[in-house]
Every structure is written in C-alpha cells, then in structure tokens.
Symmetry: C2
Subunit: 344 residues, 2 copies
C-alpha cells in the first residue's frame, strides 16, 4: 500500500468513495440501462428488464449478535435487500445468499438464521437460488443479492424529481433508530449487571422496527393499482435527510421539507422524549426505517391522499433554492446528510 | 444459540452444510430453472435464460494481503466468479461488487484493487453495475455476483454425465497449489529474516496461476464453435478429486481417472519435486486452478482431440463401480474429496 500520497477513506465518506472509485466505470453491454448509483441496477434482458441489488452485512458494523435473534437477522438480511428492489418500483423474484461463519456457530444456530431467510422469501414470494458458504475467523458476514423484474422502462430512479413535485413518505420514521438506542442501553445495563433482565415487552414496536423491518411491497402495489407513477423513489435506509439529498442531487433540484409533516408513531415520540432526542432528528439522521421516500406530480394529489399510510412531507424546488427543512418554529435549516459515515 | 443439541459445523463440512441448510428450500417462481447446488443458478426471464453465481472472499481465509497485490486481488475476485458462469457454458455480462474495508486502507490502495476489477471486466466484456461499500473492523471482505446469459436450455450442469462419456479437462492442474506453497514458504522466510528478499522471478508461471487465474472463456468459445455440447461441466476450484465427485454424485455415475493422463506444466512437476509432493496429489486436492472439467459423448472424440489444450483424463462408469483413480503403477484408489473443509 502507498505511504506517499495517502488519502484517508474517511475524507471521502461512503458515498464519495463509491463515486470516486466508479468515476471511470464505463459500461459496454448494450443491455446495461442503469449502473452504479441508484438503489439497484437495471439490465435489459431480451426486451424485458431485470433489477439487481446487493448488500453486505458485517457483524459488529451492521448487527450485534448480543441482542439480534438469528432468525430475525436472516429475515432482515433478505428484507433490506428486497427494499432496494421495491424502491425501483420493481418486483423481487430471486435472491442469492452468501455467508461467512466461524466455528462458534452451531448447525442449529445457522438453521435459525435460515428459518428467517426462508420466512422472508416466502412472505415476499422470492426464490433462494444460490450462494456461497465459507468459514470466517472474523465474525459473521452476510451478502445478499436480489433480482427483480419490472415492465420495460417502468422502473423509478432517484433522478426524475421535477420542480413542484410533492415529496411523500410511507409509514412513519425514526422508530428503528430509537429501537436501536433502546437495545444499546439495555445491553449496557446488562453488561454492567447481568442479573438485571431487560424488560422490553412494552417496547415491542420500536424493537420490531430495528430487528425485523418490513420492506414496503404493499406501497409499491398500491401505487401501481392507483395508477401513480412516482417521478423518483428511494428507500430510507440511512435517514430521511441523506435520502432526500440523494433525490435532490440526482434530480438536480432543491426541496422544502416540513418538520411538522414528518410522520411518527406514538411510541417514537414517547421514547424520543425519554432519550431527550428531537423526533425530527431521529427521522432525519436515524436510518434503517426502510420506508419508501418518493416524489409525485401534483396531478396525483387527489389519489395519494386516499392512502392514510402515505404522508406528504414537502415539495420540490429549483436547485438554486437548495434543500431545506422548515421547522415548526418557522426557521429554515439547510438539510445535511449528517447520517452515517462508516469510515469516520 | 443452543447449547443443548449442539451440532458442530465441521461435522458436516462445507458441502454437507449447504445441503443441510437448503434441504427444505422450495422454489416457487415459475422462472427458477436451476437452484442451489451447481456452479450457478439459472432463471428463465421472459423466454431467455440468465445464469447467476456469487462468491464471498474473506481476508485471512481466501487471500493473504502480505503477498497478494491488490490489483491482482481485484482481478481474481471477478475472474473466479466468471469462471462459474463459463462452467455453465454461459456468457457473463454483468457483475455486482460489494466490499467491506477498514480504515487501514487508503483510497489509493482501493484504486489499485478497482484497477484489477476493471481490467477483468474489460477483458471478459462484463459491466460492473452495482454493489455496496461498507466499513469492516475485521479485515477486507469481497462479495461478487456475476450474471450471464445462455441460449434457452443450452446451459450445462453437473448432472448430465452418462456411462462411457469421456472425462476432459482444460489446461493443466496443480500449478496454483504449488504457487501458493511457494508464496507461503517465502512469507515464512521473510518473517523470520526480513532482510532476505524473495526471488520469485523464476517462478512467474506458478505464482501467476495462484494470484491471477484466468477463467477459460476461450474453451467455452471453442467448444461452441466446434459444436461440442458437454454432457456435464464444472470449474476446478477445490481440486480435481472433489469436482469429479460432484459430477459423479450429481449425475449418479462412477468414473475411472487415469493418473498418467492428468496434464501438468513442467514448472509444476519441478516444483512438486522440490516440495517432495506427488504431482497427482497437487491436482487432485490442490484447487484454485479454475480450469474446466467436463464430460462429452464418445461421438465427440474426433473433435475434442483437435484441441491441444484439452486432455482426456478418464471415462464415466456405472455408479456401482464407484469413482476411482488408476495410478501409473496400475493400482486402483477410491477417489475422495480430501479437499478443503474450511470448518475443520
């Protein structure tokens, strides 16, 4: 490795790094319709289109086996990948699953993990068709690749938002982040005094949101049924702020986001108060909600309000106006992707 | 994790483990033509067929950064995956690449790795279309998924070998294993006395075979041109013995393998002598040669002998006769997959 001219990865951040490493990536296959840079890639196969997405999950970075049941982990590993396929308005059909495991795992433990994998496959009607199993001296490693299909040119990217489009989000935000804070707090208490058994029964909702996220297949189906074609779409994995900036940058537009319009579950509000955190901050920077964030033409307003599980949280502006949060107090804050920089 | 009824992973081995975990795997998509259990999966997409394969490479298990240049590693990560696609007699078109990296890597180091990735993409005419980049506290992790295409029902599995078919292999075997032994020896010497710089110039061939394997796209192309449709095919990643047993078990047949017919490079023979290893053992159990092992109908004999880079090394028998190696001395040994059990 170079010692002279050393550039630290942290100086670029995750997204900067990907951009940097793929800046000269030229695609030559005629079938490559969409390459690096969206939730998933799109390839044309003989006139029909396939959507492909892949994720790498590493113990100690993406999950903590101390409080993550293996069955939930298996389910989540599949679910977060399918979420990327749905975020293209596509339908997942197949997955491959590779795992790296150490001797500390028993066959029974792996069976639990696979139970969760199969449960997700069954629920979302996808086939597990292949993978790789190898030993790992360094923790549990999971890699999932999902493949889906979409009618020709009906996939939705991050780059189509237009000025005056409405910004919409499914479900509610910030719950997964607070579920994680709760698990981390209880872990700390347990490590300090193993006799204290955490009582998490009362917080099933928040903990369920972090341990067993559900990709919003139902929202994609509803939009299709309602005849709404979003102009852009992304799933909320890194936090609302970061995802909305992806849409703005990709679409070359700005936006106004209303703090008071961001949807929260009651348990999220209560727990945010307990942790002395702003609910908006939990949504903006929390991540792992796996809701769908999308923009629609104003013409679709009458249709979208019929769905109580979708909130209109802002609108798209000219690029020059920037991307801003309008707070309840009437202040305007520039949106920043404070979110996750795993290399910092 | 269970403490009662604990079954050790090592008791099943890699292949046994995969079989165990996927024994109840039911595929429901009409398009799933071939699932877990071959070099790659095959899915029918709108009348044409796609082939998908995935590999997970972990530092300390699959590669040692002390003697593996990052550019070579990038090339190899792609190459070994493409090898699985060629082993289906298919043509790779796209890959996704996910990496887990620690702060110890500089951006420049990653650029080297990607140079190798792009070199392989360019050489084999595949597009890099997506991936995931994440931090890893636990070493360098690489996951590649390759997608290819094949004319309807023209893919070749491990399960079609018939009695009296000829067993063929491309190139030569055992070189990668000896290249690895050489690198491991020089590493040990260097660690004991860092002033001694290893002189590996004279062993370029063997070292090239382990650090920069070439998938046999040329063999697939030649077979297609010659009008030869192998009855079964697999790539040699784990050693000839293990791969031939995969074909025999998958096809429900036995085989006779002639020791004297196994092809070796002169450098392989010389280095085997230096290491006091049998050349046959290096081929049978060594692995990482990434040659193609396949069976053909005897009718294709006249055609196959025209290619000097393909050797006929045995023939297929009834299952009841078992799978055997016939040694130069005239002894008959049962073939065993002594190869790699990463969990032992």
């Amino acid at each position: 490795m170079h010692d002279t001219n050393r550039t630290e990865i942290a100086s670029l951040g995750e997204f900067g790094l990907i951009e940097h490493l793929t800046r000269n990536n030229e695609t030559t296959q005629a079938g490559t319709l969409l390459s690096v840079g969206d939730d998933a890639a799109v390839i044309d196969q003989f006139g029909r289109q396939s959507v492909i997405s892949t994720d790498l999950l590493i113990e100690g970075i993406h999950f903590d086996l101390m409080y993550t049941p293996l069955k939930h982990l298996g389910y989540k590993a599949v679910a977060v990948n399918l979420s990327d396929i749905y975020a293209m308005m596509a339908t997942p059909t197949h997955i491959t699953l590779s795992i790296g495991i150490s001797n500390k795992f028993s066959v029974e433990a792996l069976e639990e993990f696979y139970e969760g994998v199969y449960a997700a496959c069954e629920k979302f009607n996808v086939d597990l068709i292949g993978g790789d199993t190898t030993s790992s001296k360094i923790g549990f490693i999971i890699s999932v690749t999902a493949i889906g299909e979409v009618a020709p040119d009906k996939y939705v990217t991050r780059t189509g938002a237009k000025v005056n489009d409405l910004v919409c989000v499914s479900g509610n935000l910030g719950a997964a982040y607070l579920g994680l804070q709760l698990l981390e707090r209880e872990k700390k208490i347990f490590l300090e005094n193993p006799k204290i058994q955490p009582d998490l029964q009362s917080q099933k909702y928040l903990i369920g949101r972090i341990l067993k996220p559900e990709p919003r297949a139902d929202i994609v189906e509803w939009l299709q049924g309602a005849g709404i074609v979003p102009t852009s779409m992304i799933d909320v994995s890194d936090g609302l702020s970061s995802e909305l900036l992806h849409i703005c940058n990709g679409s070359n537009v700005g936006c106004i986001l209303y703090e008071e319009k961001i949807p929260f579950h009651d348990d999220t509000r209560a727990m945010a108060t307990e942790f002395q955190l702003g609910t908006a901050a939990c949504a903006l920077s929390g991540g792992e909600d796996y809701e769908l964030l999308f923009t629609i033409n104003q013409e679709d307003y009458e249709k979208i309000v019929r769905n109580n599980d979708i909130s209109i949280i802002g609108y798209i502006t000219e690029k020059g106006e920037g991307a801003h949060l309008l707070t309840k107090g009437g202040n305007k804050h520039k949106l920043t992707a404070q979110g996750w920089n795993a290399f910092a």
